[in-house]
Amino acid sequence: MALLEVKDLKVYYGVIQALKGISFHVDKGEIVALIGANGAGKTTTLHTIAGLIKAGSGGVYYKGNDITTIPGHKIVKMGMAQVPEGRRVFADMTVAQNLALGAYTRKNKAEIEDTIEKVYERFPRLRERKGQFAGTLSGGEQQMLAMGRALMSHPDIILMDEPSMGLSPLLVNEIFDIIRSVHEDGVTVLLVEQNAKKALSIADRAYVLETGEIKMEGKASDLLNDERVRKAYLGE
């Protein structure tokens, strides 16, 4: 059974239809990439799954439960975390406070401490900037914070919305390494990326989203070699 399944999802912004009935699934332990051009509806998809936007019709199923109408905060408790587009760190709070909020759904203090330590190990820059207000961090630092914050909830699945945006090449590589290692720790990943090459290279499977519809799907390695994908998304 799929860990996360989206069935015929339609989403509207007022009269604009952003998603025109998309279906896909993510199995436990997979990395699934969702690629597509600007405005294709990737962020909309993630927001709808996480319960931030109401679905027009269709359904979202997670761990066998219908979560289409479940409020966002409860979905997080069910073990889903998200690294949102544009980072959305809590600007007036310190790095440490941001991380602590990431563990909002968790109770065990010792375990939380443990996770914080792990996050700091992954992102030494965050340890250096512990006490700095998140709003004054550089773009890359904020991205690390957003990622660390999502990891704090110890999720089963993590949805990432363009985690490499605005990062230096070195860090992009690092971020993908981190995604890989997060995945190796047993976290399922749904990855939205503009950097299709990198995304496809670490993903198991992938979907291509175009103007609200899924246009292609398949094994990531196959898509990486697909002529159309290469032309449209890899710039070759």
């Binding site: 409020p71 905060h73 600007a91 007036d92 909020l101 004054t136 961090l137 909830s153």
Partner: protein, 295 residues
């Protein structure tokens, strides 16, 4: 000597503003809305105490029950108001929409009170019977001492709550980015309800102290202190809890000193003029932190 007397009067008045401002700033800082009905929540609390104490004909027990019942009633009114009138507008994209609704709620509460309790003023019997302390013919009224103590306790508790508890952190998070807060697993609606619950709970306490210090009650009792407390909250720095406390005291002292040394007709103008000057010198209030927007 006189100066000291006035200073004490100022602190007395200021302590009442301060305790109101604490509740105000709580809602203001977290829900990011000017709850213009806050003053009227206070009035609701006053009437609750008045009615219940009256029913128990002024026995000591009546006071206690009165205050407890008032906090319960106020909290309920606050939470209900938020649920019915403010929550549907939260995603409307304009804090002004909620502001206007709050004004509607303010009218509603005032006119309800007018219908239920009538327009005639009622005299409130202070719930604090203590005369206070007298040092060399200077009397510090009991109400003032109690009000200041309560304000300080509230201040400390609020600070601890916001900075040390999960719910407090959730409030801060929700105040900055509700979507991101949801992604942390925070129930934003519940958090904001909680904020209103605390704010209105404090309104009841403030009401008890306001009416003990200035024992008269009519449907509009809360309006002016509410506005003054709002001014105090801004003077202290929006969203800053210690700021609200200091802002309240400073406002009270300025009002009284202005009235005694400059002009009793123009004391309101003096208060507001000082506010303007402070804000021009320190654009985010006394304790407000200037958060620079990262470009």
């Amino acid at each position: 000597m006189n100066f000291l007397t006035y200073l004490i009067s100022g602190i007395s008045l200021g302590s009442v503003y301060a305790i109101i401002a604490l509740g105000y700033t709580m809602v203001y800082g977290i829900a990011k809305m000017l709850n213009f009905a806050h003053g009227d929540f206070i009035m609701v609390g006053c009437y609750a105490i008045f009615t219940i104490v009256g029913a128990f004909s002024g026995s000591g027990l009546g006071m206690v029950i009165g205050v407890i019942a008032a906090t319960v009633i106020c909290t309920a009114v606050g939470v209900l108001t938020e649920r019915i009138a403010y929550r549907p507008l939260r995603e409307a994209g304009s804090p002004l929409a909620v502001l206007i609704t709050a004004i509607g709620v303010s009218y509603l509460l005032e006119n309800l009170a007018l219908l239920i309790f009538g327009s005639d003023p009622k005299s409130f019997s202070s719930i604090i019977k203590w005369e206070g302390i007298t040092i060399a013919s200077l009397n510090i009224p009991g109400v003032t001492i109690v009000t200041i103590c309560v304000s300080i306790i509230v201040l400390v508790l609020l600070q601890l709550f916001i900075h040390k508890t999960k719910d407090g952190q959730a409030m801060l998070a929700a105040s900055q980015d509700r979507g991101a807060a949801t992604l942390m697993g925070i129930n934003v609606n519940r958090t904001i309800s909680l904020t209103f619950a605390i704010g209105s709970f404090l309104a009841a306490i403030a009401g008890a102290l306001l009416c003990s210090a200035y024992p008269t009650l009519n449907p509009y009792t809360g309006a002016m202190p509410g506005i003054k407390a709002f001014v105090a909250a801004v003077l202290g720095g929006i969203g800053s809890i210690p700021g609200a406390m200091i802002g309240g005291i400073v406002l009270g002292v300025i009002e009284i000193l202005g009235r005694s040394y400059v002009s009793s007709q123009l004391s309101d103008a003096i208060v507001f003029a000082v506010l303007i000057i402070v804000l021009l010198v320190k654009p985010t209030g006394l304790l407000g932190k200037q958060i620079q927007e990262k470009v």
